[in-house]
């Protein structure tokens, strides 16, 4: 006779195991150069998502029936020494279960979409390998019970996203933009990793249920406080900002639209762009310890929302317009988290993800929709220009340009962050060369100019 916890454990592991199995099947068959056919891929993808969804729903109903609000399953330890351990642990609570259900619903739907959409495409199999990787990452991040588990999922999502942006690898632009996404993700990953290290340093472990207190989400109380909490919080905020394309990292979001429509729809429009917000929700107890931190979150969220609204209102292509529209809501969700409306933020997140996926999937129908709307309304569609269109002349033009060039974020980052970095390393390179030349007695070699190297970032 299975007891309650045991059933939840089995279902929970099933929810994570299903996509892992999919990844194994795809990965192994691709390595053996015997990729699945289109029909088999579609069926596998469907089966896995349905299994995962049913398992998550099972967990949900069991927890509802029983009234438990917090279950965790320890799968094992990576490293364990006294007072210090890295463990793999899944957590089921009011935050992770809805998020897992959302992941399965959206990934499943978009997977079904992609099996037909990608029909006869050369990279069909590659797409689904990356898709499986993404689903694993997404579910792992949602269900993660320790910060290191979350980091693993977070990395998988980042890796698959960057490769999917560069899906059309025969053209230069997708490769360039994929690299850009990858670099921003790396920054955010580094911040998350640092946060994890600091947390471990402080308490010897990264388990959320210990760190965030014993109470179930969102009522936990953080185990850290004061300056350490602020530092950890800020690092996590940077991590969230990179992943969710908050200011100043927003530049990668429109660039991610280079991939096939289903991947841009689910990954950047709907799911992975919310991961930053999800991370903040997960560690929301830390936000409570420091009003400064909470204020920073609110400011960043509101700034992103304003920025994205301004930029979005001048975008002339449907995918960019939708991605900035997403960003407005993500900014608001982050602000809500900062203020402390946890449930509102979660509901907002779930609703937004669903609606935006539908809009992204329908994006190519834009022309048809506009035609229909015009016929229904009986005249040309009004263009309000929004409240900013009413600003006085010179300011309006200035704002318009600011919006059209996406707030100059990319060129500012390139000029004031990347270029100094590159220059520094070139300088180090030159110094090293000098030193080695001195030792070997060779004539000095010319040094490469930074601008030629800047090509990919500028």
């Amino acid at each position: 006779m299975l007891d309650h916890t045991m059933t939840i454990a089995i279902l929970g592991v099933g929810a994570l195991g299903a996509p892992v199995l999919l990844l194994c099947v795809h990965g192994v068959s691709s390595l053996l150069e015997r990729p699945l056919g289109e029909t088999a891929t579609g069926k596998a993808c469907q089966a896995v998502n349905v299994t995962g969804l049913l398992a998550s729903l099972g967990v949900l109903s069991l927890m509802l029936l029983d009234g438990t609000r917090h279950e965790s399953i320890a799968i094992g330890e990576w490293v364990s020494i006294p007072h210090y351990h890295f463990s793999v642990k899944l957590i089921f609570d009011r935050l992770s279960v809805p998020m897992a259900i959302l992941s399965f619903v959206l990934c499943g739907t978009v997977g079904a979409f992609a099996t037909r959409y990608m029909h006869r495409e050369r990279g069909y199999n590659r797409f689904f390998v990356l898709y499986a990787l993404f689903v694993v990452g997404m579910v792992l991040t949602s269900l993660a019970g320790t910060i290191e588990t979350l980091f693993a999922g977070w990395e998988l999502v980042g890796l698959s996203s960057a490769l999917l942006v560069a899906f059309f690898q025969e053209r230069p632009a997708p490769a360039r933009n994929g690299l850009r996404v990858w670099v921003v993700y790396r920054v955010s990953d580094a911040a998350l990793l640092l946060a994890a290290v600091v947390l471990h340093h402080l308490s010897g472990e990264g388990d959320f249920d210990q760190l965030m207190g014993a109470g179930p989400w969102p009522d936990g109380e953080a185990a850290v406080s004061g300056l350490p909490a602020l530092i950890v919080g800020l690092l996590l905020l940077v991590a969230a900002a990179g992943k969710s394309a908050l200011v100043p990292f927003s530049g990668w979001l429109p660039r991610a639209m280079e991939g096939p429509t289903p991947s841009s729809a689910v990954f950047y429009g709907a799911l992975s762009v919310h991961l930053g917000a999800y991370l903040l929700l997960r560690v929301s107890a830390i936000l409570d310890t420091s009003p400064w931190l909470a204020a920073a979150v609110v400011v960043l969220g509101v700034a992103t929302a304003f920025y994205a609204y301004l930029v979005g209102s001048v975008q002339t292509d449907i995918k960019s317009a939708l991605s900035f529209a997403s960003l407005v809501q993500v900014g608001l969700i982050v602000a809500e988290i900062g203020i402390g409306f946890r449930y509102l933020a979660l509901i907002h997140l779930l609703g937004h993800a669903c609606l935006r996926t539908l809009q992204f999937i329908r994006a190519p129908t834009l022309l048809h929709d506009y035609h229909q709307l015009e016929n229904a309304i009986g005249h040309h569609l009004p263009r309000s220009g929004g409240p900013l269109g009413l600003a006085p002349g010179p300011l309006r033009t200035w704002l318009y340009r600011f919006a059209l060039e996406r707030g100059y974020l990319d060129s500012l980052l390139a000029e004031y962050v990347v270029l100094p970095f590159v220059r520094l390393f070139i300088w180090c390179d030159a110094m090293e060369r000098r030193w080695t030349d001195l030792l070997t007695g060779r004539a000095p070699q010319p040094v490469k100019q930074p601008t030629a190297m800047m090509e990919d970032v500028a």
């Binding site: 001048v314 809009q359 709307l373 263009r383 929004g386 060129s411 090509e455």
Partner: protein, 1062 residues
């Protein structure tokens, strides 16, 4: 001639920088003339840009329209060079077709012989004939690549150990045996003849022999008699390779080199790898999209109405901009230009002068500059020219202003990049010379590259090292001239000719061997159906004739002669419904019949309310407050439509239609077709419609055009067509081409109304066209995507015709099912074993499926256009590859007045479709718009790849994937004299056919004789086949097959009995 650059230098010198007061300088006549010239140059360059307009009205046209006045082959090769694209399929693709029998060696040989004439059998150095050589070069893939790659290939693969796999074993055996004999006889040391002093002719060969002696040594000279076959084979190849290399060295070097690019940016990129076009394009793309936007962005570009130049300057001259990398000086430069009042043309002259572009390069430099971002430049040009086709037109001269801005950006970016990466400090005008100096002259073809060609051919022919070692330097030169004279591009051209030849043979055989099925003259068909001449209606007509052998079908340009601006009862605007070359002079509206006006108004209000609400929602979901409210409250509910539409597209569509019906315009509507005779036509009330005289004219012309002047059935259907599918920005490309890329429902309906009018029938009777009182015309609309036909105004059909109408509708339904079934054989995702009804459901689901990138395959198989009586093609299976236009030559006059009318529509429309498919297939990323999967609708005008790319014109790969790129073959049922006369009189028809943009053959109206047009004259055609394959029905012929099929006779035996079958 005074150089352009010099002239402008002086001007610029006493212009802006030196005149801080910024007053307009007196414009001299000289400047005016120069600017006029510049305008002319830009206009000329503008012709090279893609002529595709807004994607919502997709007009198929020749992608290389700029080269239309050249012969086809010259034009494609030149076009390919200018645009950097492929003119034909790749050699591998053609060889694949050769491998699977789509092209035969006989075809290749025939086209080679035809081209070479008597030169074909000339021997080349007594090694082989010219024909043999060329044939071998076509048949056998010759590896070619950079020298390093070839050296690697020779060293690392078994290229020097095993003879090519594709060489026959006899040739291989002979090749090895002869080498062996030669080595044993002449090369092996201790040569008797040498010792005796009367040796063989080896004076010139000493070097070779010395070289080979070393080789012999390496192979183990001592055990030469123990060498096995493999060793001998390796030795034969290595000696051959050495002889080839030595021989080539004795011939003069190859001096051909690639032309250097003309733009500074390209030269700089070639030298340093730095792409200055990237920042320039980033800026230009977003600006172009904002400038042309037709309503995606909520906030329009400020100062748009002042033109491209002023809008750009006022936007980008502002302070507090971004650091902008190599465009850092932009705002200062723009401020200078604006303050010194330099206009677009003045700025172009200044930029050209600063960049150091001399007069003689002007045209090509301007063209290359515009072609660096062809999609956007082309769209600016198109919108500027045809402001009537868009909601928000742009001022004229926009292309000139685009060029002005582009040149300013180019020169700033290039100057800054050259400064930073090359440390270039000189004047920008000397930069190109400097760059050209720095770039090494493009390397000529290396010895190894040339030798490897000969080496491979030698294996194919079995030429041994001995044979080649006897060649003198002159012989080597001659041999290389022969081989290199048959270049890759030429090989592809001949492959293409052979590829087409096979197709033409099959098509003409089908027409020539098919005896006409003349209906008995006194028998009246049960009903008649007129369709568009579209290739997709070929199968529809064939199936209808199979289902109901006692009916007749006709084909006509799908606008039915009714060239109108049309507004439906539920439409907001008039849309043109006629070929793009015609500007309609008449307006027609649809309105709801009297009894239902109230319902109509109520529903229109409901639609407006719903429309406004959903528009608000659409825009609102992108804003803060409303967006937050919507997403947080009802967002999760979006899962329902999301999941339903993706997993159950057909069911969801049905439910949506059910609800949609509640607010749709009531189904009982009529056309407002008639206006009184003395009012001018116009879109306002009272001016809508045709006068009686005009309607009579249209009715008579249409009936006479298709030869329907007697034997009227009791029911005549006039069916237009269109295609409705979701998530398909290129949907309009599937609509009726003769209706200008719009669904042509109202046209057939209007013609039916005209022909049913008793007053018009009376007038027609006076003109000798008697339509019996019992004949009823019914308009209809065929949706070629989900294969449905809607008939209009059937409530007006008299009761006497009811039962016949019902029977006819049943036949049409059955034909539609079969048509869907035949289409499904092409869809890889549709099983081949489906039933007719299942096939119909499959195509319905496709039309509603958001994930479907191939809702239909449209014109993807088009290849022939037949103009003649249906008897000549009835019961022939043409595999949906033929445009069928009905025409009765026996009713035409000696000049072919009717034929002329028909061809005026058919030639531009059909050849446009054919050529668009040709180019989009042969180079999908270049001439077409690549894959659909990453497309992003921009500015409501076109698609981009991702969020910032050039605007992609042409057709996506998913649409053209199964196309066979051949030129359209016109088969006209007429005489050579008539068509030559028409070609003489009508420039468009003449230039398309004379320049070979389409092929032409005529079928004699009174016999089976066919004559083919080539190089200005007609020659008789002899069928190659003796008889056509036969099948009982279409499905019997195409069953189980997804590929293109041979043409066959359908149901012949069945209909005429075994006695009359051939």
């Amino acid at each position: 001639m005074k150089s352009f650059a010099k002239k402008s230098t002086t001007e610029v010198a006493n212009r802006a920088p030196l005149r801080p007061d910024g007053r307009l300088r007196v414009v001299t006549e000289d400047v005016q003339a120069e600017e006029k010239h510049l305008r002319h140059v830009i206009e000329h360059a503008g012709h090279l840009l893609p002529a595709q307009g807004p994607i919502t009205v997709f007009i198929h046209h020749n992608t290389l329209h700029a080269f239309e006045d050249l012969p086809f082959f010259e034009a494609v090769e030149k076009g390919a060079q200018v645009f950097g694209c492929e003119p034909y399929l790749s050699e591998e693709r053609y060889r694949e077709e050769l491998g699977r029998g789509r092209v035969r060696v006989a075809d290749v040989e025939a086209v080679l012989c035809e081209d070479l004439g008597p030169r074909a059998s000339e021997p080349i150095l007594r090694l082989c004939t010219r024909l043999d050589l060329r044939l071998a070069m076509l048949q056998y893939p010759l590896r070619y690549g950079p020298t390093e790659e070839l050296l690697w290939f020779v060293a690392e693969t078994d290229a020097l150990r095993r003879v090519r796999r594709d060489v026959s074993s006899t040739t291989r055996g002979r090749f090895v045996a002869e080498t062996r004999r030669w080595v044993m006889r002449d090369l092996r040391g201790g040569n008797e003849s040498g010792r005796n002093g009367h040796g063989t002719a080896k004076s010139g060969n000493e070097r070779v022999e010395a070289d080979l002696a070393g080789l012999l040594e390496r192979f183990g000279h001592a055990h030469i008699e123990d060498w096995n076959d493999r060793t001998w084979e390796a030795f034969a190849l290595q000696s051959l390779w050495r002889v080839c290399c030595t021989g080539i060295k004795s011939a003069p070097e190859c001096t051909a080199s690639l032309p250097a690019p003309i733009r500074h940016a390209d030269l700089l990129r070639q030298l340093t790898g730095q792409q200055t076009d990237l920042p320039v394009h980033d800026l230009l793309i977003s600006f172009c999209a904002a400038y042309l936007d037709q309503g995606v962005a909520d906030w329009p570009l400020p100062n748009r109405e002042q033109g491209f130049y002023r809008a750009f300057v006022s936007l980008h001259r502002q302070p507090l901009g971004p650091p902008n990398g190599c465009l850092g000086e932009l705002s200062g430069e723009l401020a200078r230009l604006e303050d010194s009042q330099i206009g677009p043309l003045g700025s172009i002259r200044e930029s050209l002068c600063l960049l150091g572009v001399p007069e003689e390069e002007l045209q090509s430099f301007v063209s290359a500059t515009l072609l660096a971002l062809p999609g956007w430049a082309g769209m600016v040009h198109q919108i500027e020219l045809r402001g009537d086709r868009v909601r928000h037109p742009i001022p004229s001269d926009s292309l000139i202003e685009f060029l002005a801005i582009r040149l300013i950006l180019d020169r700033l970016a290039v100057a800054s990049a050259a400064r930073s990466s090359l440390g270039f400090r000189g004047s920008l005008s000397t930069l190109r010379d400097e760059l050209r100096r720095l770039i090494d002259a493009a390397p000529a073809v290396s010895v190894e590259q040339r030798a490897f060609q000969v080496f491979q051919l030698a294996q194919v022919f079995g030429w041994t090292a001995e044979t080649l070692s006897r060649l003198r330097p002159d012989d080597w030169t001659a041999l290389l001239r022969e081989i290199e004279g048959f270049s890759a591009i030429e090989r592809r051209r001949f492959f293409h000719l052979a590829y087409e030849r096979r197709f033409v043979t099959r098509s003409l055989d089908a027409v020539a061997l098919h005896a006409p099925t003349c209906p008995p003259p006194d028998e009246i068909p049960r009903f008649q159906a007129v369709f568009c001449l579209d290739d997709r209606e070929e199968s529809m007509r064939r199936h209808l004739e199979e289902v109901a052998p006692d009916v007749e079908t006709f084909g006509i340009a799908g606008f039915y002669g009714v060239a109108i601006y049309y507004r439906g009862a539920a439409d907001a605007h008039f849309v043109p419904l006629c070929p793009i070359v015609i500007r309609p002079q008449h307006w027609i509206t649809e309105h709801v019949v009297d009894g239902l006006t109230e319902t109509h108004q109520r529903r229109a209000r409901a639609r407006r309310a719903l429309g406004t609400a959903s528009h608000r929602l659409h825009v609102g979901s992108r804003t803060f407050a409303l967006g937050a409210l919507v997403t947080a409250t009802v967002g999760v509910l979006a899962t329902a439509p999301l999941v339903a539409r993706i997993l159950f597209p057909r069911l969801t569509a049905r439910i949506r239609n059910l609800f949609g019906r509640l607010v749709q315009a009531p189904p009982v509507t009529e056309l407002h077709l008639e206006r009184s005779d003395h009012v001018a036509a116009g879109p306002q009330n009272g001016h809508v419609g045709y006068s009686l005289v005009e309607m009579t004219e249209i009715g008579e012309r249409q009936l006479r055009d298709i030869g329907l002047t007697q034997r009227f059935a009791r029911l005549v259907f006039l069916i237009g067509h269109g295609s409705l599918s979701l998530n398909n920005p290129h949907k309009s490309a599937y609509d009726c081409g003769a209706c200008g890329g719009a669904p042509g429902a109202p046209n057939g309906r209007a013609l039916a109304r005209i022909l049913n009018d008793p007053r018009i029938r009376e007038r027609l009777a006076q003109r000798g066209l008697n339509i019996p009182g019992t004949t009823v015309f019914i308009g209809g609309f065929h949706n070629t995507c989900d294969d449905s036909i809607a008939l209009f105004e059937t409530d007006r059909v008299p009761d006497s015709h009811r039962s016949e109408l019902e029977a006819a509708q049943k036949d049409l339904e059955e034909a539609l099912n079969r048509n869907a079934h035949e289409r499904c054989r092409r869809f890889m995702s549709a099983p081949l074993t489906m039933s007719f009804a299942a096939a119909r459901q499959h195509v319905q689901a496709r039309a509603e499926d958001l994930a479907q990138t191939r809702p239909e395959l449209g014109h993807a198989t088009n290849a022939i256009c037949f103009v003649g009586r249906r008897e000549r093609t009835r019961q022939l299976f043409f595999d949906r590859r033929i445009f069928l236009t009905s025409y009765d030559p026996t009713h035409d006059d000696a000049q072919g007045a009717i034929l002329t009318r028909l061809l005026q529509a058919a030639v531009p429309v059909c050849s446009g479709i054919s050529l668009e498919y040709y180019f989009s297939h042969v180079d999908s990323p270049g001439f077409g718009c690549g894959t659909k999967l990453s497309h992003n609708v921009t500015a409501l005008l076109g698609v981009m790849d991702g969020a910032a790319s050039d605007l992609r014109t042409g057709l996506p790969w998913q649409m053209v994937e199964i196309h066979e790129p051949v030129r359209l073959l016109f088969v006209l049922e007429t005489t050579p004299e008539v068509i030559l006369g028409i070609m003489e009189r009508h420039a468009v028809i003449g230039s398309v056919l004379r320049n070979g943009w389409a092929l032409l053959a005529v079928l004699d109206p009174y016999s089976q004789a066919i004559q083919v047009y080539r190089d200005g004259r007609f020659t008789c055609y002899e069928p190659e086949a003796e008889e056509l394959p036969q099948a009982a029905s279409s499905v019997d012929w195409y069953r189980g097959c997804r590929d293109h099929l041979d043409f066959a006779e359908i149901g012949r035996r069945h209909v005429r009995g075994p006695a009359s079958s051939r």
